[in-house]
Subunit: 136 residues, 2 copies
């Protein structure tokens, strides 16, 4: 874990909420959707199959944990999960709460329009709710 | 598994290549990208967190297996993995081989343009190569 650093673009476009076992949990600076990103704290990994089998299982476990918390907090119609990495090659998993009628519904969020940042207060309030739902 | 049936739209838009432990492995009828779909053979599941923990791990294992085979066969720049389900609610995981300059690169494939079907021969040839790469 010592050589891990979040990709510069990921770090610029999102706020660190917490660290779970394997991953950094980050919130995208875009209020159009509740949009989280898990970043495994491993250097030089860009595909899920680059992770060890144990880390793959950890990533699945953390993805499920965060998806359920996000569903609870937002009441979303559908959780979208994606690992694309065509632009930022460092492995990261998007977890997005989608609801009917949201921007670009039922299409994907990636590459759509322009981010609309939250205020510091909105970010804080959302983070508090989510971390509360994640707590055991 | 007895109550499982692939969603009608998934069945119409893709060809069944094989069944792995948990999932049907299907090939989208769209030659613009090498585009596979894993469908867990479980009824009434739409989110990954609806699966049992064992099935979640199986799905991860099969996703990794298929991703590696697809990378081997295509030499793609990046494998894109996604579970969206905004249109088809039955849980399914997309595994897509992306290369620089392909249609909509570096954007996502979902919702982009119109599918361009393969010929039966092309489908057969691709399936044979992929199944060969999947074989132990």
């Amino acid at each position: 874990m010592s050589d891990f650093r979040p990709d510069e673009r990921l770090a610029r476009d999102s706020d660190l909420l917490t660290k779970i076992g394997l991953c950094e949990l980050r919130l995208m600076k875009d209020s159009r959707w509740p949009w989280l990103v898990l970043v495994p704290q491993r250097p030089d990994v860009s595909e899920i199959f680059d992770l060890t089998p144990l880390d793959q299982t950890m990533l699945t476990f953390e993805t499920v944990l965060v998806s359920e918390a996000l569903k609870t907090v937002t009441g979303a119609t559908k959780i979208n999960i994606g690992a694309l990495g065509n632009i930022v090659r460092q492995l990261h998993v998007h977890i997005i709460a989608r609801s009917e009628g949201d921007p670009n519904w039922p299409g994907p969020v990636w590459g759509y329009g322009t981010a609309e940042p939250r205020s510091a207060d909105e970010t804080k309030a959302f983070a508090a709710k989510l971390l509360d739902a994640l707590a055991p």
